[in-house]
């Protein structure tokens, strides 16, 4: 009987440590998205969302989302960075990322606060915008996470 208890305890410990390890790299996008819903309500209605899965590399790189907005309508951009193991930069530009005349309308690093994962941006003027994520370099193998972007509209 003692043996059974002993081996069962060992097995449970093994499974727990493995589960802890798995949880560390998991990105539960739906939960992260749900955390953003109250940030939209009651003024803004859900329009669409984009979950960007990030696999950090040895070189820094960028990834982007093109966002069509309709003239004269009000929008709220909401981001959740809680699914990222390492900070990234988020910029919102008024022109294509490759355009040298582009202006940064939002820069996460200038509003980032310790312990805060949810950030919002409301454009003054509605036109096509470009969200650009800059993912820093890392030597760490298989480091991954996700950033959730949700768009709300108000007519």
């Amino acid at each position: 009987m003692k043996k059974v208890i002993f081996y069962s305890t060992i097995l449970v410990l093994l499974l727990t440590t493995t589960a802890l390890k798995l949880e560390e790299v998991q990105c539960v996008a739906a939960d992260l998205k749900n955390e953003l819903m109250p940030v939209l309500k009651p003024e803004y209605k859900y329009d669409s969302s984009k979950i960007t899965r990030v696999l950090y590399k040895k070189e820094a790189f960028q990834s982007g989302v093109e966002v069509p907005l309709f003239m004269g309508e009000k929008y709220r951009f909401v981001f959740n960075t809680a699914g990222l193991p390492k900070d990234i930069e988020i910029n919102i530009f008024d022109k294509k990322p490759s355009n040298k005349m582009k202006n940064a309308l939002f820069t996460l690093s200038s509003v980032r606060e310790m312990g805060k994962n949810i950030y919002t941006y409301e454009p003054e003027k509605s036109k096509k915008m470009y969200v650009v994520y800059t993912i820093p370099a890392t030597e760490e193998e298989n480091l991954k996470g996700c950033v959730v972007f949700l768009l709300g509209y108000k007519l």
Binding site: F6, Y7, I10, L13, L14, T17, T18, L20, K21, E24, A29, A30, K33, M37, K45, Y46, D47, S48, S49, K50, I51, T52, E59, A60, F61, Q62, S63, G64, V65, E66, V67, P68, F70, M71, E73, P85, K86, P97, S98, K127, K128, Y130, V132, T134, P136, A137, T138, E139, E140, L143, L151, Y153, L155
Partner: protein, 272 residues
């Protein structure tokens, strides 16, 4: 035996501990060097607006309700390929949105049943299972804000479902059906009663079509969507005449040509 278990146990703890240490070391040495900029198409993704938002914008610009414009719920049984099911799932979503924004609650409930029926064929039953949507719609008859909120909830549920099940490639196809149907409704209402504001809003949809084409091209690895992309590109050519101006608007003749092509493609989709 005991030794083996102890070895395994200590190894697993060491594994977790080592990984945590690695994380700290990397954070300290974090240096951002040259950044590969987003110039390649593959590093961009394209957001597509909800059909509800487009329908609401059209409504605010004069999209009135005309009965019998929407796709018949009876046609759902004839969609037997995954491709036609996805496209027409989008068509019916747009029809449901059109009914909701025009307080046609019973028709909206009928479209909801049709969407559920199609979702079963597409193995997407979970989208509707837990929401009690019909009841919520029935309980909110005449409450415009509540009805649109319910429709927005359905969109969240659909987006989550596609993401959680690795079906991101399905989203642009469903959206194509929804977008064509909303444009069709706008074009038909405008043909019946021409309206400057509505023409402006129809013109403005060029930004959405641009994103839609790019999104479809990204998922077209096996050339499954060649025909659909070609059809949409024909429609997109109508917007080539527009100057880069915020107030750009198609002329009456141009919008008529656009409408004819939209109606043709929509009818092709619902007959599939």
């Amino acid at each position: 035996m005991k030794k083996i278990f102890f070895t395994l146990l200590s190894s697993s703890f060491l594994w977790v501990a080592c990984e945590s240490n690695n994380e700290k070391v990397t954070t300290e040495e974090d240096v951002v060097e040259e950044v590969k900029t987003v110039t390649e198409e593959e590093s961009m993704s394209y957001l597509l607006p909800s059909p509800l938002q487009i329908a609401e914008i059209f409504k605010n610009s004069g999209l009135t309700y005309i009965g019998d414009l929407t796709n018949s719920t009876e046609s759902a049984a004839s969609y037997n390929t995954k491709y036609s099911q996805k496209l027409n799932f989008g068509v019916y979503s747009a029809d449901m949105a059109y009914c909701i924004i025009n307080n046609q609650t019973q028709s909206a409930i009928n479209y909801l049943s049709t969407l559920r029926e199609l979702s079963e064929k597409m193995w997407m039953t979970d989208v509707f299972n837990t929401m009690g949507l019909s009841k919520r719609l029935e309980n909110n008859v005449g409450e415009q804000d509540s009805l649109t909120t319910i429709m927005a909830d359905l969109q969240i549920r659909l987006d989550n479902y596609l993401d959680e099940n690795g079906m991101g490639y399905t989203g642009p196809v469903i959206f194509t059906g929804a977008w064509i149907e909303t444009m069709y409704l706008g074009a038909k209402v405008n043909q019946a009663n021409s309206n400057e504001k509505l023409i402006y809003r129809l013109t403005e949809q060029s930004v959405v079509l641009e994103n839609l084409l790019k999104a479809l091209e990204q998922i077209n690895e096996d050339n499954d969507f060649d025909e659909l992309i070609a059809d949409l590109k024909v429609i997109n050519e109508n917007f080539d005449v527009l100057e880069e101006s915020e107030e750009a608007k198609l002329s009456d003749e141009q919008v008529e040509k656009l409408s004819v092509q939209i109606i043709e493609l929509r009818n092709k989709i619902i007959k599939n």
